[in-house]
């Protein structure tokens, strides 16, 4: 199979993730969309690694996974804290800071 298709798939996934961030209200879902974007990048790295014929991209993917995991820890912590104080996980609800 042509690795370029994987790149295209990655782009599609990235777009889906972006749209998810823009349209979903639930903070968890928004967060998942971001993870999707990161993983789209991972897919692109791996696909490009294949196309380029070196392993760098695959190694990078591992790095990204670790970083993403760390991000989850921090992100969930913040979301949970917000949820506890506001009883809502809507990302639109915290709206005191504006203008």
């Amino acid at each position: 199979m042509n690795p370029e298709n994987y790149v295209i798939l990655a782009a599609v996934l990235f777009t889906i993730g972006t749209v998810g961030v823009l349209v979903r209200r639930n903070a968890i879902v928004v967060f998942m969309s971001i993870e999707l974007m990161l993983n789209a990048a991972n897919l692109a790295f791996v696909a490009f690694a294949r196309m380029q014929g070196n392993l760098d991209g695959q190694v990078i993917a591992f790095f990204v996974m670790v970083v993403a995991a760390a991000e989850v820890v921090v992100g969930l912590a913040i979301i949970v804290a917000i949820y506890r104080s506001r009883r809502s996980a809507s990302i639109d609800e915290p709206n005191l800071l504006k203008y």
């Binding site: 993730g17 380029q52 760098d56 990204v64 800071l97």
Partner: protein
């Protein structure tokens, strides 16, 4: 296959800061509550001093280290040193616990519900949050890496190491916790979003060049000038990630919310240190990796810089909250920095570094003052409440006025020399239109800097208005340093200019 050769001595600053951060985590785990704060403070200040000493000790060498993953070149070392100093001063603000009668600027326990019984009890018992210190050190480590990384992967990791602790720090304010948490959430969501862009852009660049190494990318750009899709996509998305961090329009909207919601010392740290790191990274990416593309990205930076200056200044005029106003002003300042970046010349590089030095200290001073102006409910950031401060607390108000004048670029302050340098760099590069926009933006910006002075000095004090709390030596010292740097750089900039000149340009 041999193990990579690493000269650990040259990367000692990273090791010290990182090690101290890890130690800090251990301290949190194993030491008793009473002992934590002194130990953490020793760790933080000690590690920063040590890291700085190590940096000075090694500053003679200009090299790429760790198999070329880190560039300890002139600008890199300079920026690292700057970050460490700024972090040191920020740490002094973070360590302040005399301004708020209840303790320092942070919630006693981040997990406790705002306004809950638990929180009240903890406050009453004088609990202090000491987890901020390891977080702080990790963020510093991330920044140090950010400005020295020579490939996109390290840069990404550094970005996250820098950002993740900041997301948390933003949400830990003792007062007005809802705002603080909101700031943390927004910062986190948008930060993660932008780093996704950065990462995907890196993937595209990797796809184009076969490596994430700046030098390789640069060579590839020279070798394959015809390639468009991947290059444009890659450059664009990497730019998005970096411009987000520096807070350029239209990636700026997180800035006011986060600056306003975070505790003042954290905002100070973010506004000063993060800006240095992010601009440093931006410089390196653009000058080293995309150096061959300067004809492509120069117009981009012109547009972004112009937008940033104008929008930042315009919206700042309409603000009524001092922290938000400073946030917008920092956006406008970024516009000027980008003007320097856009000149794509050694002059531009020097101008930008000088600008960063000047700006970061001024900003630290501003937030130091903001953290001091309080009433019973905490910091008072409504501008009209500051009326008559010049009458009630002339020294602090005068200092603040000096910072305002510096940001406005009035001569004999660091801000003027900085502005002079970026204008000079931009004009040398022929960006006449951008300079004109810069002039217009400066004028608009002056309006709100001046308005602060009007409020402080030309109005009578309000009934029941805020007081300037008496700070401990930490804040006093931080404020003094900031003010001194702001004035001295304005009057005698030559030594610093020499230093920057000696630093030379980026290695690749």
């Amino acid at each position: 296959m041999t193990a990579p050769s690493i000269d650990f001595l040259t990367i000692l600053p990273f090791i010290i800061v990182g090690g101290a951060a890890v130690l800090g985590v251990l301290v949190e785990t194993f030491l008793g509550r009473r002992a934590r704060r002194p130990v953490q403070l020793v760790l933080v200040f000690g590690s920063l001093v040590a890291a700085f000493s190590a940096l000075i000790w090694q500053s003679g060498t200009r090299s790429l280290e760790v198999e070329g993953a880190l560039a300890l070149d002139g600008p890199g070392v300079l920026l690292m040193g700057l970050i460490i100093i700024v972090a040191f001063v920020s740490a002094m603000l973070l360590a302040e616990r005399q301004l708020d009668p209840a303790g320092d600027a942070f919630a006693p326990r981040a997990s406790a519900l705002p306004g809950s019984v638990e929180e009240r009890e903890l406050t009453a018992r004088g609990y202090l949050q000491t987890e901020v210190w390891p977080l702080f050190l990790f963020a510093v480590l991330g920044m140090l890496l950010f400005v020295t990384s020579t490939n996109l992967l390290i840069m990404f990791v550094a970005l996250e190491v820098m950002s993740l602790p900041l997301y948390l720090l933003a949400g830990m304010a003792r007062r007005r916790r809802l705002l603080s948490q909101e700031a943390a959430l927004k910062y986190f969501i948008l930060g993660a979003f932008s780093s996704a862009f950065f990462l995907f852009g890196s993937a595209l660049m990797y796809g184009f060049a076969g490596s994430v190494d700046f030098a390789v990318i640069s060579d590839a750009l020279a070798a394959k000038p015809g390639e468009t899709t991947l290059v444009v996509g890659g450059v664009a998305m990497i730019s998005v990630g970096l411009l987000f961090k520096v807070g350029a329009v239209p990636f700026h909207q997180w800035v006011p919310d986060v600056y306003q919601g975070s505790p003042a010392p954290v905002t100070a740290f973010m506004a000063a240190a993060v800006k240095i790191a992010a601009v440093g990274a931006l410089l390196r990416v653009y000058y080293v990796a995309f150096g061959g593309l300067r004809w492509d990205w120069e117009p981009l930076l012109w547009v972004i810089a112009g937008l940033t200056m104008i929008v930042g200044s315009l919206v700042a005029i309409a603000q009524t909250d001092i922290k938000r106003m400073i946030a917008y002003s920092s956006i406008a300042q970024v516009g000027f920095i980008l003007m320097g970046v856009s000149s794509a010349s050694p002059q531009g590089l020097q101008a930008v570094i000088f600008y960063l030095i000047a700006y970061s200290f001024t900003t630290l001073g501003i937030f130091a003052v903001i953290s001091m102006v309080r009433d019973a409910s905490g910091e008072v950031t409504r501008l009209d409440q500051w009326a008559g401060l010049g009458r009630t607390s002339p020294v602090v108000a005068t200092t603040f006025a000096i910072f305002m004048l510096a940001l406005a670029g009035i001569p004999l302050t660091s801000g003027f020399i900085a502005k002079f340098l970026v204008f000079e760099a931009a004009l040398s590069a022929g960006a006449v239109a951008l300079v004109i926009v810069g002039v217009v933006a400066s004028v608009i910006a002056a309006v709100f800097y001046v308005r602060v002075i009007v409020i402080m000095f030309f109005r009578d004090p309000v009934e029941g208005g805020p007081r300037v709390a008496v700070p401990s030596a930490f804040t006093t010292l931080a404020l003094s340093i900031s003010a001194a740097v702001t004035v001295i750089l304005g009057i005698l900039p030559q030594p610093v200019l020499d230093l920057i000149e000696q630093a030379g340009v980026f290695l690749r």
